[in-house]
């Protein structure tokens, strides 16, 4: 009889048909849009129930007349009924108009745009460093599970993880700023221009980024460690070792790529939250970013600003979730569409 000649179903090479990709994408986008809509509604009604007359708060402690207050109310559309305000707000949102900040008297969108770059710089650098550090140390810790490297690593990470961010920031200021040669706050020294400016910004970034990394990297470390530990017992690693691969290669070529899958999505998911999490670091280090803006908005409270930032932060998380959804199939052939 003939040799067994299997005719395997044509191995689905990678991506799948454009139509299915389109359907997948459309599904994800729709989900993101739904979340966004929900966030919008929440943001509006959540902040409308804030106590206090915003106009009063705005002018607190200053000499104002009733007419001035009324004028302010009119300017901010606070004299209209709630339903109308909501419609205005929604239509504004579609035009990327998040209203006008009470304290800056500038469009919130503009304020956000102004502050976006510093936050992205800070949170981006922080996350990147934290991820690289966390993943690397996590790999080491898992590979040497139970040894000194692991214990020191995990212990340190967990300790830092348990420390309140702002407290750590303050401690760093006490120890390193001023006398330690690092600036205590801000993003740049006024007047420094040219190539020195980049260095200057880097100099200002050291402490805030260190704070951010210290608190965040533990998470990546733990995820990578446990993810790698689950992979550790896997049969395919035995196969790899049986093939005669050096342990370092087994780790690099086989274990890490597999363990990286859950971790990378997590990095993405976290990224969304990190931007919002920058509030503390930015506040402590006077970093002129979105977090600081939020903090300032809170103190008044500056309703359109806080609301706008809330929407913006949520949109960031939604976007990152979407990216994670889109990136995951690229990384893991098993879930390719």
């Amino acid at each position: 009889m003939s040799a067994p000649s299997a005719a395997p179903a044509a191995p689905d090479r990678g991506r799948g048909s454009p139509r299915r990709i389109a359907v997948y994408l459309a599904g994800r986008l729709l989900g993101a849009a739904a979340s966004m809509a929900a966030v919008t509604v929440t943001a509006f009604f959540l902040f409308r129930v804030l106590p206090g007359d915003p106009v009063r708060t705005m002018t607190q402690g200053r000499a104002v007349t009733e007419a001035q207050l009324d004028e302010l109310r009119r300017q901010y559309g606070l004299d209209k009924p709630l339903g109308e305000q909501f419609l205005d707000y929604c239509s504004g949102l579609l035009r990327l108009d998040l209203g006008v900040s009470y304290q800056y008297r500038a469009p919130v969108t503009e304020l956000i745009a102004e502050r976006l770059w510093p936050t992205v710089l800070l949170a981006g650098t922080g996350t990147l460093l934290a991820a690289v550090l966390g993943l690397w140390l996590g790999t080491r810790a898992a590979w040497r599970r139970g040894r000194v490297v692991d214990q020191v690593n995990t212990g340190l990470a967990l300790t830092l993880w348990s420390v309140p961010t702002f407290w750590l920031g303050l401690l760093l200021i006490v120890v390193f700023a001023g006398t330690g040669g690092f600036p205590t706050g801000g993003m740049a020294t006024p007047g420094v221009r040219g190539p020195a400016a980049a260095l200057d910004v880097a100099h200002h970034m050291v402490l805030p980024v260190a704070t951010m990394v210290a608190v965040v990297y533990a998470q990546y470390l733990m995820i990578m460690r446990s993810s790698l530990l689950t992979e550790m017992g896997s049969d395919y690693l035995v196969t790899a070792r049986a093939k005669g691969l050096r342990d370092a290669l087994v780790l690099r070529r086989h274990a890490v790529p597999n363990a990286l899958l859950p971790t990378v999505t997590l990095v993405f998911l976290n990224l969304g939250q990190v931007v919002a999490g920058a509030i503390l670091v930015e506040t402590v280090f006077s970093w002129p970013g979105l977090g600081q803006l939020f903090y300032q908005g809170l103190r008044l409270p500056d309703l359109p600003l806080v609301q706008g930032l809330f929407v913006f932060f949520s949109a960031g998380v939604i976007l990152m979730n979407l990216l994670a959804d889109l990136v995951y199939p690229l990384l893991d052939p098993r879930v390719r569409v």
Partner: protein, 303 residues
Amino acid sequence: MSGTPARPSPRALARQRRRLALSGFWRRYRRHRAGLLGLAGLVLFVLLALAAPLLVAPGDLSVTRAPHDAYQPPAPAHPLGTDNFGRSLLDLVVWGSRVSLTVGFLATLVSVGLGTLVGITAGHYRGVAGAVLMRVTDWFLVLPTLVLAVALATVLSRSTLTIVIAIGITAWPTTARLVRAQTLAVEARPYIERSRALGGGHTHIMLRHVLPNVLPLVLAQTTLLVASSIIAESTLAFLGLGDPGTVSWGGTLQDARRAGAVSSGVWWYLLPPGAAIALVALSFTLCGRAVEGALDPRSREGR
């Protein structure tokens, strides 16, 4: 065939079983040295919080007749120094543990309770109900936690309860997600199908099979959540959203910062409450990880 005279009642059996399970759990837990350390820290702090009224005289926390001078560095009479009113920082830390731990536990209770309920329900009912629940969870998950907590704390009136609610409400989706995933895993196990084939209804399956099997996860999640809730409490206080009328660690930190302690060389105002938060959070985290480890079937002995 049923000739054995002294047959234990099912209730006694259940008790015995529970005792056995507990001792087994404890045996496995004991193997985690860090977990024991965490547990010790935890017990210490809980005892401290419970004993606070005995350790701190009511007058010691009075702002008008504080026992010491303001801003005194650590000395035998006040081992951790004093604050701007002349109250001993040690007293403040001891007393603050009450609020901080209460907030930590209550917020965790809220979020774990809510999360477990939603998670199991969403995982069990596959139809529209589950999908809707999951959508809601997803949507909550999308809201930036800190921002939402801050917003809630701003919106609601300022009190410890508000903080509990703000933290509880922002933390539950994570639990729900976890519980749902675990529920799905449990529901895929053949014993659920067996139970259905035996005639068990939804409630039976959820209560008898799913809940006990997700509980360990919930327990581990609980300990981890307490840690983050305590940190969250201090964060909210730091952002000025705490209840200034009560003594809590976060509140004390906030007071220290407001007083400019960092730049005034009054390090003892800043250090103790922060260290206390970090220690408690670390204790809970270590416990949580040890619980996780002890419940991990892979670490079980036997087959």
